[in-house]
Assembly symmetry: C2
Homo-oligomer: 222 residues x 2
DNA sequence: CATTTATTCAATATTTTTATTGAATAGACG
DNA sequence: CGTCTATTCAATAAAAATATTGAATAAATG
């Protein structure tokens, strides 16, 4: 094998992996799987895809070894193969957030209309935890919370929040988080909480970002 | 705009950026540009592409704002827009190196045949620098060295190495590096040096990896 | 063993990406 | 101003990715 053939092999493989991520639906699926195991049915529902279509995209990710499966009874659950998959996804996301005006504008525009509240970075949250009383609120679906959440976070899925406001403290500051910077659940939660007189902000990023930094998490079994 | 439209926009943009990297030639071009500015002509030569073809790929990267241009006389030089581009590329590379058996096998197979020498990680090199005498050898083309190199590294491009061996010390250990883990120049250099009785190893990664970690670098003007 | 259910496969039409070729452009330089 | 040169553009053919549909599969359950 000569140098050129060697390079073609190497960059070909790198491109193959990159291609397997290079699709809007698959980018969304990866973010979803970064929360934990999810069944095909659920992935399709969350991403508004026909099941056959979701399955097809999952096959692409599986072929690139970005995801693994785990059969549980009648369901097949998909999960990310390892941390590096999320790290690569995150690097691409950071690149997107930083570079592409279009995304920033879209995010900002969408948020400004309904949810123009302050947000808290991971570093700031770490400080708040160390230096005072604070309530951390996980508004993702319960299955995601169970599979891993920020240590000491309380779980109230966004759909239940309006009915369960009394479980939250009026005085101490609340930081709500969900799947990541594009996840709207946290925005909706903060809007609802502020409206109801709570002191609330959202976490800029999400649970997988927290976890990948090695910060303390808890798992509620499964 | 509803939630689904918002998501479609966001993940669409992320996929657009990812797609712009998702091609073997463009993966190679990005690695090359991580060394510094390079003209279209040179990019085409280094990647064995017809010039029109290289230009086309560069347009794709430019549209995604991954690269910027800088006209110098008759030539147009391309460079990465910022550090995050290399970071994302690196994350994908790490994913590839770690995940895909194919890449590992190809790399190993190719190296074993001719270049089965020990290599040194960046952390190990840092230690060696702190704790003793060591010669760091940059075997990339001189233009790349000039645009940035590991602090105190000596430049001897691989093509000149055989004629310039006398410039190197026989006693102190030599660590040769080039563009990255897939760059063969460092392997060739180590092979040549060991053959000639020097004590030499290659750096596992390359200059951009060193730089992105914030380790000391030098620039020779331009 | 037959049925149910979640998932995958297969076939096809559509769209997008890529390579190739030759012409066009834009700036430098005499 | 005209020429030269590096780069880009444009047109086309070929290859690959994607969406859609309905059928096939494989495991669980009665």
């Amino acid at each position: 094998m000569n140098k050129r053939q060697f390079k073609d092999k190497v960059y070909g493989e790198l491109a193959r992996i990159t291609k397997s991520m290079a699709n809007p639906h698959r980018m969304e699926i990866i973010e979803l799987l970064a929360q934990g195991e999810v069944s095909v049915e659920e992935i399709a529902a969350q991403t508004n895809l026909p099941i056959a279509n979701a399955s097809q995209h999952l096959q692409v990710l599986k072929q690139a070894q970005l995801v693994e499966i785990n059969r549980q009874g009648n369901f097949i659950f998909y999960r990310l193969s390892n941390d590096n998959v999320f790290k690569a996804w995150k690097a691409l996301r950071d690149l997107g957030v930083e570079r592409i005006v279009a995304v920033e504008n879209v995010v900002r525009e969408f948020r400004k209309s309904k949810f123009d509240f302050e947000s808290v970075t991971i570093d700031e949250l770490v400080e708040k935890i160390e230096s005072g009383k604070i309530t951390i609120l996980d508004v993702r679906p319960e299955s995601e919370y169970k599979q891993g959440h920020i240590a000491n976070a309380v779980s109230i899925p966004i759909e239940e929040l309006s009915k369960r406001l009394k479980e939250l403290p009026k005085r101490t500051e609340i930081v709500a988080y969900c799947r990541g910077p594009f996840c709207v659940y946290a925005d909706e939660a903060v809007a609802m909480l502020v409206q109801a007189g709570f002191k609330a902000k959202r976490l800029t990023e999400g649970f997988p970002d927290w976890k990948v930094q090695g910060l303390p998490i808890e798992v509620s079994m499964n």
